[in-house]
């Protein structure tokens, strides 16, 4: 018993030391800017007007904020073309990704959000610079998951998500490792997926890329992508569960009845 206790304490202590970094999902949109926090972020040192060129600091009451603007989401109002001045590569990459396709109307919007631009993922006021991979795993799981909750859930059920987000394994993969951060890709085409898998698994074959990372163990809509495979997984899961519950149920009942009979016999003497 004693070594077990020591082991448990060790596990808890080690767990606390290597704890999951605090979630830094985007805060609810607000017009308030905490200057002290801003100065600790990646954009510390910039002036407000470096990004908010339409604000004239000497003449704030004249132009900003107006009554019809202040009720709107700051992320919708802000003109993110301002980011391009410093982040040219990222901006160009974004323009060729799936998120930009949604913005430009080339794709159907699938979420209640407006098409995501810079501010939907990046917290420009407070996000720290130089985050580690492990920190980013958790951030991405939250930020991407805000619009893609099903993908977040399936990712966290997968080895990659468990190892990356829960266990802090830096060799695992986060959202953007496969899907890209700025040039965001859905990876619905097999050859695109294969190229991505091969970044870490150079031995991967086209078949291996058919592995469903975001495997939904529920019945898919008939027109859904890879509906047959999802259906197969659903019934496999159902059968396995019935089997496990059946076998354990039978033997647990057997054990319980045996225990009662044995105790009864003992107590009767």
């Amino acid at each position: 018993m004693r070594p077990l206790l020591i082991l448990a304490v060790l596990m808890l202590v080690l767990g606390a030391c290597t704890g999951v970094p605090a979630s830094s999902a985007l805060p609810a949109p607000s017009w308030y800017v905490d200057s002290a926090r801003f100065q600790r972020g990646a954009h510390a040192g910039l002036d407000c007007s470096d990004c908010h060129a339409d604000i004239q600091l000497d003449d704030v009451p004249a132009k900003h904020p107006s009554a019809d603007r202040i009720t709107q989401d700051a992320r919708v109002l802000f003109d993110y073309r301002a980011c391009e001045r410093c982040h040219k590569e990222e901006y160009a990459a974004y323009a060729t990704g799936v998120h930009a396709e949604v913005r430009d109307g080339a794709r159907v919007k699938t979420s209640t959000f407006d098409a995501p631009t810079c501010g939907n993922c990046h917290n420009a006021h407070y996000a720290p610079a130089q985050r580690t991979r492990v920190e980013l795993f958790a951030v991405q799981s939250d930020v991407c998951g805000a619009c893609h909750p099903a993908e977040r859930a399936t990712y966290l059920q997968n080895f990659h998500g468990k190892a990356a987000v829960h266990l802090g394994e830096k060799r695992s993969a986060g959202c953007t490792d496969c899907h890209g951060g700025h040039r965001v890709a859905s990876l619905t085409q097999a050859e695109d997926a294969l190229a991505v898998c091969q970044r870490c698994h150079p031995e991967a074959s086209p078949n291996m890329a058919g592995f469903l990372i975001h495997a939904h163990e529920e019945l898919p809509a008939p027109e859904a992508r890879r509906a047959f495979e999802s259906t197969l997984l659903f019934y496999a899961k159902l059968l396995l569960t019935l089997f496990v519950v059946g076998v354990l149920g039978f033997f647990y009942a057997h054990t319980l009845l045996w225990l009662i009979r044995s105790l009864h016999r003992r107590l009767r003497g």
């Binding site: 767990g15 030391c17 999951v20 802090g168 060799r171 991967a204 495997a215 997984l233 496990v244």
Partner: protein, 237 residues
């Protein structure tokens, strides 16, 4: 028999096999529970203790090889019994299931409800046979799916990628079944039930007392009374 006489029930080889099974099970379950329940309290610490996700993987695979060895060792033992000792495969001493096991189960269930006597068991009672065969069935499903997960690139050279998903499902669910069975049913049936509590040492020492033998495996006991050579051969000196 006035003085306590002990007999050999399990030889050294089979006891060693069982020890390896225990070691491999602890290694297999211990290295993968923190991954399956990776968001549980202590999971990170447990993984850190094993040297990270990679270290836990090494422990898991080494344990899997030990389990495979234990199964091979058992096949050797079975081959010895059949080929050298000339024991009949479907005889009363055999671990193979037979019709009596099902009537024993029915009779035992009636006994649980107070409707009849406890059945007389032979060398292996039906639950002992189930324990034994469950390992082989688990080896087939968990071992097979485990190999797919270990070598996904090789497996998908001739199988579609969805097989990896199926392997994950089967591996995880069957492992939970094995764990749920071992920790409750196997431990209770062999060690924790009031007649045996807290530990039945037979599988570790190999020795069984005449009383226990006559009580728990009465049919075998009665049979060996008529085979004096066998009784002497098994007596612990």
């Amino acid at each position: 028999m006035s003085h306590p006489v002990a007999y050999w029930r399990f030889n050294l080889w089979d006891r060693l096999t069982h020890l390896l099974l225990i070691v491999s099970m602890v290694g297999l379950i211990g290295s993968r529970f923190p991954l399956k329940f990776s968001d549980a309290l202590g999971a990170r610490g447990a993984i850190a203790l094993m040297g990270g996700v990679g270290g836990a993987g090494v422990i898991h695979r080494v344990s899997a090889i030990i389990l495979g060895m234990a199964c091979l060792m058992n096949l050797v033992s079975v081959a010895y019994l059949i080929l050298v000792k000339r024991r009949p495969i479907f005889g009363p001493d055999s671990i193979f299931p037979r019709g009596k096991d099902f009537t024993d189960l029915w009779q035992h269930a009636r006994y649980f409800f107070g409707r009849g006597e406890r059945p007389k068991f032979d060398r292996y009672a039906y639950w002992e046979k189930f324990d034994y065969w469950a390992v082989f069935w688990g080896m087939a499903i968990i071992g097979g799916s485990g190999l797919v997960l270990w070598f996904p690139a090789i497996a998908t050279q001739f199988l579609p990628g969805i097989v990896i998903n199926l392997a994950y499902l089967a591996h995880s669910d069957e492992a939970m079944l094995a764990f749920g069975f071992l920790i409750v049913v196997h431990l209770f049936n062999t060690h924790l039930r009031p007649e045996r509590f807290p530990l039945d040492k037979v599988i570790f020492t190999g020795k069984i007392s005449a009383d226990e033998w006559a009580r728990d495996h009465s049919l075998e006991w009665e049979r060996v009374q008529h085979a004096p050579g066998r009784l002497d051969e098994q007596r612990v000196h």
